[in-house]
C-alpha cells in the first residue's frame, strides 16, 4: 500500500494534533469564562517578550529536553519508560551527594562530576525494571510506575532522616557549596550596562541539554548500538535473527533513558535550587512523555516540543498570576497533547492518509 510522504508524517500529523489540542484548550478557557485570545497574548508577553521571561521558558525547556530525550530513546527500542519522574528524583540524589560531599575546585569540574553522578543514579533506578523486563518479562510500564512511587518514598526518607541539616524544618539538604553552584544566564549574558535574564533560573545546563540532543542523534542514527536499538524497536524477532540480543538492548536502552532522566535534576537541583528539595522534578518526568510523543522521538523534535512546553509552563505561570485561570490549565493542555499525538494518533493519521492517496490517484 502507498504511504503518505515522510514530511507529512513527521510534521503535518503532529501539527494537526497540536492544533486540535489548542482548539480544545481554547474551548476550556471559554468554558471557565475567560478570553482565550487575551490569555494567549498574556502567555506570549510573559514567556517570550522579555529576556527574563525567556529565562524561565528556557529553564523549563531544559528539564523537558532531558526527560523528553529519555522517553524518546526508550521509544526507539519500543519500551515505554513512564518512570522518568522516579529516575529524575534519584538522579537528584546523585547530584546532591556529588555536590555536598566532594570538594570541587570550580563549577565546571563540579558540573562534569555531578552529571556523571546524576546519570549513574538515574540509570541505576532504571536498571531493575529493565532487568525484570528483559529477563523475566515483567511489564516495564507497571514496574516503572511502581518505581516512581518507591523513589518518592526513598527520597522522602533520605531527606527527612539523613540529609536534612540539624534544626532545619523542611525536608531538603543543606545548600551546596559555592564552587558547586552553576552560572545562570544572568551571570553569563549580562553586561555592565544592561542586565539580561534578570532573576531567571535558566543556567548553563541548557547548553548541556542541547549537547545531549546532538549526542542522542549521533547515538541513534550514527552508531551500531543505535542501529541495534532501532532494529529491536522495529521488530524484535528480526533483530533476534540478526544476532541482536534483546536482553542487552532492553537493558542498555533503559540505562541510557534513565541516565538522561537523571540528568534533568542537574537543572533544577544544581542550577536553580542549589540544594535538593522534595519536589525537585516538578512533574517533568511525565511531561517528557508528551514531549517525546510530539517530537516523534527525534532529538530535533524533542527540542522544539520542549521549547513549546517551556513556553506553556512559563505562560501558564503568568496566567495564574494575572487571571483567574489556575496553573492546572497547563496540565490539561499537556493531557490533550498526549491524547492527540499519542493515543488518538490514528484519528488524525487515517483521514490524512486517505487524503494523500486520493490526491495521488488523481494526479
Amino acid at each position: 500500500m502507498d504511504k503518505m510522504p515522510g514530511w507529512a508524517d513527521a510534521v503535518l500529523v503532529p501539527l494537526i494534533s497540536l492544533l486540535l489540542a489548542a482548539i480544545l484548550s481554547a474551548l476550556v478557557i471559554i468554558g471557565i469564562g475567560e478570553d482565550p485570545v487575551a490569555a494567549f497574548k498574556l502567555m506570549v508577553d510573559g514567556a517570550l517578550m522579555r529576556s527574563s521571561g525567556w529565562g524561565y521558558t528556557l529553564y523549563y525547556a531544559t528539564n523537558f529536553i532531558f526527560t523528553g530525550l529519555a522517553v524518546a530513546v526508550a521509544f526507539h527500542a519500543r519500551l515505554f519508560n513512564i518512570g522518568g519522574e522516579g529516575q529524575a528524583m534519584i538522579g537528584g540524589l546523585g547530584v546532591a551527594l556529588a555536590c555536598l560531599y566532594i570538594p570541587w575546585p570550580n563549577w565546571y569540574v563540579a558540573l562534569l562530576g555531578a552529571t556523571v553522578s546524576a546519570a549513574l543514579f538515574g540509570a541505576m533506578w532504571a536498571l531493575i525494571p529493565a532487568y525484570l523486563q528483559a529477563k523475566r518479562g515483567s511489564h516495564i510500564v507497571i514496574t516503572t510506575i511502581m518505581f516512581n512511587f518507591i523513589a518518592a518514598a526513598v527520597l522522602n526518607y533520605i531527606l527527612v532522616n539523613i540529609l536534612r541539616p540539624q534544626g532545619a524544618m523542611d525536608p531538603a539538604t543543606a545548600r551546596f557549596p559555592e564552587a558547586a553552584q552553576l552560572p545562570t544566564f544572568q551571570d553569563m549574558f549580562s553586561t555592565a550596562e544592561t542586565a539580561m535574564f534578570r532573576g531567571a533560573p535558566a543556567n548553563v545546563t541548557f547548553f548541556l541539554a542541547i549537547f545531549m540532543c546532538l549526542a542522542v542523534w549521533v547515538l541513534i542514527w550514527r552508531t551500531k548500538l543505535g542501529y541495534e536499538i532501532r532494529a529491536f524497536g522495529q521488530s524484535e524477532s528480526a533483530a533476534k535473527y540478526a544476532g541482536i540480543s534483546p536482553v542487552k538492548i532492553t537493558v542498555v536502552a533503559m540505562l541510557i533513558s534513565g541516565g538522561l532522566a537523571g540528568m534533568m535534576a542537574l537543572n533544577t537541583t544544581m542550577g536553580e535550587a542549589e540544594r535538593l528539595v522534595m519536589n525537585a522534578t516538578e512533574g517533568a518526568g511525565f511531561i517528557g512523555i508528551a514531549v517525546a510523543l510530539m517530537g516523534r522521538s527525534h532529538p530535533l523534535g524533542v527540542l522544539l516540543a520542549a521549547l513549546l512546553f517551556g513556553f506553556l509552563y512559563q505562560g501558564g505561570a503568568e496566567l495564574a498570576l494575572w487571571t483567574n485561570i489556575p496553573r492546572e490549565l497547563i496540565v490539561v493542555i499537556q493531557a490533550l497533547v498526549i491524547l492527540f499525538t499519542g493515543a488518538l494518533d490514528n484519528m488524525v493519521r487515517m483521514p490524512l492518509e486517505k487524503l494523500f492517496l486520493a490526491s495521488r490517484r488523481k494526479a
Partner: protein
C-alpha cells in the same frame, strides 16, 4: 496493642480498602478483556470531583454519585475510542486520562466554587452516612462479638457494602455466565471470539463501560463517604495501588479482595502509626508507603509465583481480511 485499637485499625482498613477494591475490580474487568487501563486514577479523580460538586450543589448525595459515574464513564468512552476504535496505545491513553482529570478537576473546581480547587464541605444529605445494621444494639452486650459487629461489620456507608458485594458478583459474572466466558476469551484470544460471531469491539466497549462505572463509585466513595468533599489530587495514587493489587491478585476477583485488604491495612497502619518501633529497628513510615509497590514488583518479577497477564492485553484487535 489492645483489642479496641486493633478493632479501630481493622475498621479503617475496611474503609481504606473499599476504593482500592472498587478500582481494582474495575481494572480486572478491563484487563481481563484485553484493555490495559492505567487511567483508573484519573477516572476516580474525575468521579470524586463531580460527585462532590453535584452533591454540594443539589444537597443530594445520590445525584452526586450519578454525576461521578457519568464523569468516569465519559473518560472511559475516551479510553475506548482511543484504544478500541482508533487502535491507539492503551497505556498512553491512560496517561493522558490521568492528566486530563488532574487538570480539569482543579480548573472546574476553581471556576465553580473559587475555593482554591476544592469543593465546599458536604453536610447532611450531601454525604453517605454510616448504616447501623440491625442487631447492633442487641449484640452490644456480648463481649468480643458485640464490638466486632458494631465496629467492623456494621457502621459503614452503603458503598462499602456495595464494594464487598461486587467481589462474588464479579466472580459469578466472570466464571459462571456466557458473558464472562466471552469476556475472558476476548482478553486471551480475540480472534477466536470474532470467529464465533461475537463482536470484539462491542464486548470491549461494554467492559470499558463497566470499568468506568466501578471507578465512578470508587471516586464518589472517596469524596462523599470517606471524606466530606473534594480536594485537589485526592486520589493520591490509589488508582495505581489498585493496579498493583490487581497484579498482586493475578487478575482474579477473590484474590483482589485479599490484596486490597492487605494494601488497605498497610495504609491504615501507616496512617495511625508514623514510625513503627519493633525494638531491634524502626520501620519508617515511608517504607510502609512504599510496601505495596515493592510487593508488586516482587510479584511481577515472578520470584513468588508468576503473574501472567491476559495474553491479548494491550493489543488492539485488527480483524483479518
Amino acid at each position: 496493642m489492645d483489642f479496641a485499637t486493633l478493632l479501630q485499625v481493622l475498621d479503617s482498613t475496611v474503609r481504606l480498602a473499599t476504593p482500592l477494591l472498587l478500582a481494582c475490580l474495575a481494572g480486572l474487568f478491563s484487563e481481563r478483556a484485553g484493555i490495559f487501563d492505567i487511567g483508573l486514577e484519573g477516572k476516580m479523580l474525575a468521579a470524586a470531583f463531580f460527585s462532590a460538586a453535584i452533591a454540594a450543589i443539589t444537597g443530594d448525595v445520590w445525584m452526586g454519585l450519578g454525576a461521578g459515574i457519568l464523569a468516569s464513564l465519559a473518560l472511559s468512552v475516551l479510553h475506548g475510542l482511543a484504544s478500541i476504535t482508533f487502535r491507539g496505545n492503551q497505556l498512553i491513553s491512560g496517561v493522558a486520562i490521568n492528566f486530563l482529570a488532574a487538570g480539569l478537576t482543579v480548573l472546574i473546581a476553581q471556576d465553580w466554587f473559587s475555593q482554591g480547587g476544592r469543593t465546599p464541605s458536604l453536610i447532611g444529605a450531601g454525604r453517605f452516612e454510616p448504616i447501623i445494621l440491625p442487631g447492633t444494639a442487641e449484640l452490644a452486650g456480648v463481649p468480643i462479638i458485640g464490638p466486632i459487629y458494631a465496629e467492623l461489620i456494621s457502621g459503614h456507608s452503603i458503598l462499602v457494602y456495595v464494594a464487598f458485594a461486587m467481589v462474588p458478583l464479579t466472580w459469578w459474572l466472570l466464571y459462571r455466565t456466557r458473558f464472562g466466558l466471552r469476556l475472558r476469551a476476548v482478553g486471551e484470544a480475540p480472534e477466536a471470539v470474532d470467529t464465533a460471531g461475537v463482536s470484539v469491539v462491542g464486548l470491549r466497549y461494554v467492559v470499558v463501560g463497566i470499568c468506568g462505572i466501578l471507578c465512578g463509585i470508587a471516586g464518589a466513595y472517596l469524596a462523599t463517604a470517606l471524606q466530606a468533599g473534594f480536594v485537589k489530587d485526592m486520589t493520591a495514587g490509589r488508582g495505581f495501588i489498585a493496579l498493583a493489587a490487581l497484579i498482586f491478585a493475578k487478575w482474579r476477583p477473590w484474590y483482589a479482595l485479599y490484596a486490597c485488604l492487605l494494601f488497605g491495612l498497610l495504609q491504615a497502619v501507616a496512617l495511625r502509626y508514623q514510625n513503627i518501633d519493633l525494638g531491634a529497628f524502626v520501620v519508617p513510615v515511608q517504607f510502609m508507603d512504599a510496601l505495596p509497590y515493592i510487593l508488586t514488583v516482587v510479584i511481577l518479577a515472578g520470584f513468588v509465583g508468576k503473574a501472567i497477564p491476559p495474553r491479548a492485553g494491550g493489543e488492539p484487535y485488527v480483524k483479518e481480511r
